[in-house]
Every structure is written in C-alpha cells, then in structure tokens.
C-alpha cells in the first residue's frame, strides 16, 4: 500500500491522541450543534433561543446533557432487557466509528512526528463509512423492537425502510466520484479535487447526495421516524435518561458525519476554497482544518435551515420520491458519467466532439421528455374520465363491507387495471346477443 504513505506508521501514543482528539471534537461539536440549531431556528421563528447559561447561552446544551444524565431511568415492563440496553450503545458507537476515515488536513507534525490529520485510511474507506452507517441502523431498529410498544416499533420500521432506501441513492451518488478520483480512499479523493471540486463537475451527484444525506440522518423534512404528530417520539419513545442521551448524541454526530463526508467527497475536503487558495500556505500546516470545519458548518447550517423551513413529507410520498425519482436519476447520471469517461479516455473523443454528443443527447432526452409529458397528460385525462364514470356508476359489491373478490355471478366495479377485461366481456356479450 505504497500510495498510503504515512498511514499505518503512527506510533501507538499518536493513535491514542488522534482517537481522543476525534472523540472530544465530536462531543464538543454535538454540544455546539444543538446550541447552534436552537439559536438559528429561534431566529428564523422570531424568538431569541437559549441565552441564559454561559456567554450567548453556549453552555445550555452542556447543562441539558447533565440534567438528562441525572434523570430517572425508566425500563418498560414489556421491554426485552438485553436488546433494549444494547440498542443505544450500537447507535452511538457506530456514530463515532465512522469518523475514523475522515481527513481533517494534510500531513502535519505532532510532537515531532510527521503524520496525516486523519486517524486511518485504506483503499475502501468510503465504503467503510457506508458499512458503519448500516450497522448504526441496527440501533434504531432494535430500539423500536425491544421497547415492546407500538409506536416505537412503527418508528423503528419506518427508520429502517427510510435509511435503507436512501442509502442506495447515496451509494449511487458516490460512483461518479470514485470514477473521477480513481480511488475509494478519502485522502486520495480529497487530493483528486486539487484543481476543481467534484461538487462543480459532478453537480447532479452532489445534489443527490445532499438529498439522500438528509433522509439518511432522519432529519426534517424527512424526519418521519419521529413524526411527533403520528408516532409520539418514534423509536426512542420509551427511552429515558442516559440511553436517550446516547440516541440524541448519535443523531447529531451522524449529522456531522454526513456533512464531513459531503465535504470530503464534493467540496474538496480540507483544501482551501478559491479566494483563500491564492494564499500560498493555505493548504499547509493546521490551516486546512479551519477550512474543513467551516465547510462542515455550512452543511450543518443547511440542515438547520431545512428544519426551520420545510414541513414534513407524507410517508408514502417520501418513499416514492426515494425509489422512483432519486434512484433512477442517480442511475442514469452514473451511466452518463461512465459513458463520458470511456468516450474520452478510450475512444479518445475531443472535447468538441463530446460537446456535440452532449447536445445531441440533451435533444434526445428533451424529445423523450416531451413524449412522456404527452402520455402523462393523456393518462391524467383518462383518470379524470374514469373518476367521473365511477362517480356515475357507484356500484359497490356489498355496500360498506370489506372489499372482497366478487363471486362469479357478481359484476364488479370498474378499476383501471380491469378496463381491458371489461371491454373483452362487453364484446363477448355483444357477440352472444347477436
């Protein structure tokens, strides 16, 4: 693994220093994010928000955390003890683990040892983040199941379905990045964005990822697993005290993790943004960590902004959006990116030829969209006509009863899929009459 240079050569004490550093940073970032979220949302709602404890209320979330930890622990009678106990632990552990491969900066010198500002890296570290995220889901789903109560179970089911669905779109949005970076390791991907960020050249991937990351972290407007109007608190309804605190911690760390991953994959990681990058030593020493932190904070602000702005989606619309819009779009985009790569690298088309091909492709797509639009309109008209016809006929099989398949002697009400059959029957009847 020569390409990984200094990774894996750290002395043991440096590994411990890095692990502790990441742990402390994540806990502090969680405390800060909670305060930041409450302040920003307050401002958006014409309130002031927490401003009593510490300067500007900065210590509010610390105090809330202490209070939460000292609260009474309540164990539901119907809970499955072992699983109930281990679920928040899985959630929180997975949240911390994902940060092992996030690069904060280039090589620096710590106590005289040259080392990259990253705990570790290996050829598939982006896949590692995905793997850890899928282990984290176990925490939610087990919490829902082991609480022995209805609402948590429903919340757990919802969050599983949601995270699995949006993980697919998320994974697909990575493919284009891998193709362009030629690597799945986070440090290599950052370095591959030296002249230009992937968010610019791979804009659709970036947009898909940003949408999927909100769904993945169960945040508004995709916070259906904890929709308080429907499910009380979702999977953590029955949790209290420290165990609840662990879930809370995991949620905010996950927010930071997906933001950090977005920064790494699309916004050039720790590389300085344009006007600053003109300064020669912008990408050396400890400075890059500042750019990294600023970029992550921008994503976190977007999370808060979305929460303050958008209403929650309906569950079925949300799933439809994930499966029928996000995934197909991601697939098509991946194919386009791969095709362009092959045309340029192996068929050796020039940029002009590629441009012409692109224009032709866009024209074809527009024509296709036009045809589809026409079909959709016709279908809409058909549906309206059907509805009108239905309203006229109104024949219920057994009025008010549970819908069951009709007996052979019964006629059944018209449904869209039945239209072909009805026509056939009508023709047959006509033939018989004649």
């Amino acid at each position: 693994m020569s390409q990984f240079g200094l990774f894996g050569t750290d002395p043991w004490w440096l590994v411990i220093v890095k692990v502790l550093g990441i742990f402390v940073m994540l806990v502090l970032l969680t405390l800060f994010t909670i305060w930041w979220e409450r302040r920003v949302v307050s401002r958006m709602q014409n309130r002031i928000g927490p401003n009593r404890v510490g300067p500007q209320g900065l210590l509010q979330s610390l105090m809330d955390g202490v209070k939460l930890a000292l609260k009474e622990e309540i164990l539901p009678k119907a809970a499955h003890r072992a699983v109930y106990w281990i679920a928040p632990v899985i959630s929180a552990t997975a949240a911390f683990l994902a940060f092992a491969v996030i690069p904060f900066g280039p090589t620096v010198s710590i106590f005289g040892v040259e080392t990259p500002l990253q705990l570790t890296d290996f050829p598939v570290s982006v896949l590692y983040v995905l793997a850890i995220a899928s282990i984290g889901v176990y925490g939610l789903v087990l919490a829902g199941w082991s609480s022995g109560s209805t609402y948590p179970l429903l919340g757990g089911l919802r969050s599983t379905a949601q995270v699995i669905s949006y993980e697919i779109a998320m994974g697909l949005s990575f493919v284009a990045v891998f193709l362009y970076a030629g690597s799945m390791s986070t440090s290599q991907i950052v370095l591959a964005q030296e002249p230009i960020w992937f968010a610019v050249i791979l804009l659709p991937s970036f947009l898909i990822y940003v949408t999927a990351m909100v769904g993945e972290t169960n945040r508004a407007p995709f916070d259906l697993p904890e929709a308080e109007g429907e499910l009380v608190g979702g999977f953590h309804t029955e949790y209290s005290s420290l165990k609840f605190a662990l879930f809370f911690l995991a949620e905010y760390i996950n927010m930071v993790t997906v933001s950090a991953l977005a920064t790494t994959l699309f916004l050039g990681g720790y590389l300085a943004p344009w006007p600053i990058s003109l300064w020669e030593s912008a990408n050396t020493g400890w400075w890059p960590m500042v750019w990294w932190l600023l970029k992550v904070q921008i994503f976190i602000f977007v999370f808060i902004w979305l929460r303050g702005t958008l209403p929650r989606l309906r569950y079925d619309q949300f799933m439809k959006f994930g499966w029928k819009v996000l995934i197909p779009v991601a697939l098509i985009w991946t194919i386009i990116v791969a095709a362009v790569r092959i045309l340029r690298d192996q068929v050796a088309l020039t940029n002009t030829e590629l441009l012409i091909a692109g224009v032709v492709l866009i024209l074809i797509l527009l024509a296709g969209a036009w045809v589809l639009q026409g079909r959709a309109e016709r279908r809409e008209q058909q549906r309206d006509a059907d509805r009108a016809a239905r309203a006229e006929r109104q024949l219920d099989l057994v009025p008010g009863a549970h819908p069951v398949p009709p007996m052979p002697s019964q006629t059944f009400e018209y449904t869209p899929r039945r239209s072909a059959l009805l026509t056939t029957q009508a023709t047959m009847k006509e033939a018989e009459d004649a």
Partner: protein, 261 residues
C-alpha cells in the same frame, strides 16, 4: 506458506482469536436461541466479525461489502419481516416434515465435506503467487476484483445478477394482489368525510367551561347547555356521561350574558 505464517504479528493474532471466537459464539447462539429476532442478531454478530477477519486478511473490499450487503441490507430485511410478523413469536420445535432433522444433518455433513475437500484441494494444488503479486498485477485489490468480475467472469456475474432479479420479480408477482375497488384519492377521501355533514375541525375537548376535565364530563357551550360531542363515543353509548352541576351551568350563563353565542 511458511513465510505467510511468520508474517503474523501480535495484533493479527489477537484479532483472529477475538473475532474468530465471537464469530463462532454468534453462530452457536444463532442455532441455540429460541427467539427468531435473537437468532437474527447473533448471525449479524457473526457476519460483522467475519468482515473484520476479511479486512485483517487484506481483503478490505470484501469485508466492507459483506457488512453493507449482508449485515446492512439482507439481515435488516430479515429483522424487518420478523418484527412485522410477530414481536413475540418463538420457533416451535415440533418436526413438521417427517425425517427433516435426519435429512438436514446428512446435508449439513455433506456440505461440510464438500467445502473441506474443495478448499483443501484448491490450497494444495493451485500454485499461489502471493497476495502482493496478485494485487500488484491489477494495480490494487479493488481493481483486481473488478478485473475478475467485469472482465474474466462477466458472463457468470451477469447470469447471477439475472437470476437474482428474476427471483425478486417472481416474489413480487407471487405476492401481488389485484385491487377490487379503486383506490380513493386524497380529495375523494376528504369530500367523503364531509358529505354527511362531518365535523370540520377537532371536537370540543371534555370539560371545557365545566368544573371538571374528566373524559366523562361534557363540555359546556357558551349558552350553558352541555355538548355531548365532547364525550367519547363509547362512553355515550354506555350512557356513562357525568351530569353537570346545575350551579356551574347557571354560573356560565351569568358569565356569558350579553355575549353572542
């Protein structure tokens, strides 16, 4: 081979014994535990430990994909189904098919033998060129796997994919149910709700203006009469509605005198 053995360092040995032990424990627990959900959890434990062993054996891609696909998606679907089917269902130990256990034992031993012989012969007869040489030949572990899957064995790979998709589509066809009545759209549902003069908003909560807010205490309307709408239907059906103190009614009437109701 001897060279490879001497390559083991202390860390690798510790990882092997810890993860190997946990994987075996998980496998045993999966067979022994009575609850289906516990079995699923144990098998997830085994899978994760195997993934760590893969990574330790310089197969990082395989390890990660194992966790993403098997632990993250397949086992999660299992859990999903178990949770939906029954929160407390435990397996019955009655043999439903005659001779099932004996056949299972036979097949298990057969599979074990096949695997042992297959892997054993592969290890002894194929000349191994060493991990570094194999990885370097393709320019990396992931690149090497990609070369094998999308170049050398692309037909087998695509055939497997086609098989899996056929299975998924088949399951959907088998589970498909025809709708016998049309699905009502949201506007239709909302029209239906109000067609027979439904109440457009929340009903008044019990005890509004009254001196007591128990569910069986009806709310008082501004003119002093009681609102039966505020008491839950079952209580009304049982005639379990509490009488309101006439003094309260008088007081309300006094208070709201002159107010348009």
């Amino acid at each position: 081979m001897t060279e490879a053995v001497s390559d083991f360092n202390l860390g690798e040995t510790i990882v092997f014994w810890v993860c190997g032990g946990l994987a075996v424990l998980g496998a045993l627990g999966m067979i022994i535990s009575r609850k289906a959900v516990h079995s699923a959890l144990f098998i997830a434990l085994t899978m994760i430990n195997l993934a760590i062993l893969y990574v330790a054996n310089a197969a990082p891609f395989l390890g990660m994909v194992q966790v993403i696909v098997y632990t993250g998606a397949v086992m999660m679907l299992f859990l999903f189904v178990l949770m939906v089917v029954g929160v407390d269902s435990s397996d019955s130990l009655v043999e439903t098919i005659k001779g099932q256990r004996f056949a299972g034992l036979l097949l298990g031993i057969g599979l074990g033998l096949l695997l042992t012989v297959g892997i054993g012969s592969a290890l002894t007869t194929s000349g191994d060129i060493g991990l570094t040489a194999a990885n370097d030949a393709a320019g990396g572990n992931v690149q090497g796997l990609a070369q094998l899957m999308f170049d050398d064995y692309v037909v087998a790979f695509q055939a497997t994919a086609a098989l899996l998709i056929t299975a998924a589509v088949g399951a959907m066809v088998l589970a498909h149910r025809e709708r016998w009545t049309p699905r009502k759209s949201q506007p239709e549902l909302s029209e239906e709700r109000f067609r027979d003069g439904g109440h457009p908003g929340n009903r008044p909560s019990p005890g509004v203006y009254a001196r007591h807010n128990a569910v069986d205490t009806p709310a008082l309307l501004p003119d002093g009469s009681t609102s039966l709408d505020s008491v839950p239907g079952p209580l009304r059906a049982r005639d379990d509605v509490r009488d309101v103190d006439p003094a309260d009614v008088d007081e309300i009437r006094e208070l709201t005198k002159g107010v348009d109701s």
